[in-house]
Amino acid sequence: MISDQQRILTRAAREVTDGQIVNLGIGLPTRLFHYLPDDMNVLVHSENGVLGCRPRQEGELPDSDMIDSGGAYIATRAGASVFDSAMSFAMIRRSRIDVTFMGAFEVDQEGNLANWKIPGKFSPGIGGAMELAQKVARLVVLCSHNDKHGNPKILTRCQLPLTASRCVARIITEKAVMDVTPAGLEVVEVAEGLGIEALREATNATLLIDESRLGRF
């Protein structure tokens, strides 16, 4: 049976189209790497200074000078380039990354994102998240629909310090694919076998659902 994470990642891979430049956030989004077809003209950006990274293949020796922003050994694919941190963030701030996938502690129906700090509990620093969230052309959040205590992560309004406001275009969880719209979160697809009511119960935000157009994933 497909795990929640596999369901999210399989669906997320369909967000990437041939010819794009993509950034993968630390954590779950990084694993999307393994779901992108090899034969696509897609370059994955990692903000520590590489455009065009790919997972290291079995038997391929690690290169200690070649890591991604999460500290994992990577390799590069044809068309890759490496550069300093100023150049790397120039691409980000100038919206030259087509789509970035990021995790979330909280995300809300206005498209606000909180994923860097839990006051008093977790504050390792902002890293590159703020600039990615604010500036990348399209931000897709990949996260579990609820936290480990079962509380909704999809909210009417974020409570934690924001990474950036009104930055999220789409949210993909194991339960649904939702687009941020002025009227609320428009549910585009629901997970196979999940009822609408169960989705509403797991969510603390205004969900717009047109069952006649609803997809399944």
């Binding site: 041939d18 010819g19 794009q20 430049i21 003209n41 897609v42 370059l43 950006h45 455009l51 065009g52 590069t76 694919r77 044809a78 068309g79 890759a80 380039s81 490496v82 550069f83 100023a86 150049m87 963030f89 120039a90 691409m91 701030r93 100038r94 030259r96 990354i97 087509d98 500036k135 052309a137």
Partner: protein, 233 residues
């Protein structure tokens, strides 16, 4: 954004849909790095009231010199016109409006747009003639002038070598303003002598990563080496 697999095109396609009144950055310091083939195509396509941003005005009869002489340029933002007496005459007669910036500040104003900043703080030229009209602020005990970022609708750059995705490598003193302008416009058109398959350019030697580039056009040396002022020291 232009897709990675759709950047290589011919001169006409690359230069299509540039509007009258567009602001266009042009690489090059004198002849080296000047995208002469793209400029000749711009001349042929007829837009008027252009604002050009270039370090200099090339020489009479070549590069942006041709555009100025053809009456196509309304405004020139530059650092120095020393090699082009016809451009100086056009300035003096009021045919073109010229704004001068110190060369390094011009470079940084362009880079500033290229990296997504709004401007920078400099102490260059405070209390000289070029300080007129600049805003000044005090910060941490010093006085600084604010130089706003300088962006363009289109940038025309010249690279020695490229790949199909738009990664660029410049050569020698043909680099100059090209890597900065290649980041600073909505649409960036690169001419180059050679377009490689992705993977053939050594990754540590790429100067401009492909993310910034809209179109790549192959040109021959003959169409892009102009300039008569060159001499020995």
């Amino acid at each position: 954004m232009t897709l990675l697999n759709q950047k290589v095109c011919d001169l006409d396609a690359a230069m299509a849909n540039i509007s009258d009144g567009a602001t266009i950055m042009v690489g090059g310091f004198g002849s080296p790095g000047t995208p002469f083939a793209l400029l000749d195509a711009l001349l042929a396509s007829g837009q008027r009231n252009l604002t050009l941003i270039k370090n200099d005005a090339n020489e009479p009869g070549i590069g942006i010199g041709k555009l100025i002489e053809a009456g196509r340029v309304k405004r020139l933002i530059t650092s120095h016109l020393g090699l082009n007496r016809t451009a100086i005459e056009a300035m003096n007669s009021g045919e073109i409006e010229v704004t001068f910036h110190p060369q390094g500040l011009l470079a940084e104003k362009i880079r500033c747009a290229g990296v997504g900043h709004g401007g920078f703080l400099t102490d260059i030229g405070i209390s000289t003639e070029i300080a007129e009209g600049r805003h000044e602020i005090n910060l941490e005990g010093g006085t600084w002038a604010i130089e706003p970022a300088l962006q363009a609708d289109v940038a025309l750059v010249h690279a020695e070598r490229a790949d199909r995705y738009g990664n660029l490598i410049y050569r020698a003193t043909a680099s100059n303003f090209n890597p900065l302008m290649a980041m600073a416009a909505e649409r960036v058109i690169a001419q180059t002598y050679r377009i490689d398959t992705p993977g053939n350019l050594p990754i540590d030697t790429i100067h401009t990563p492909c993310a910034f580039i809209s179109h790549v056009v192959q040109v021959d040396h003959a169409s892009s080496q102009q300039g008569a002022c060159l001499h020995d020291l």
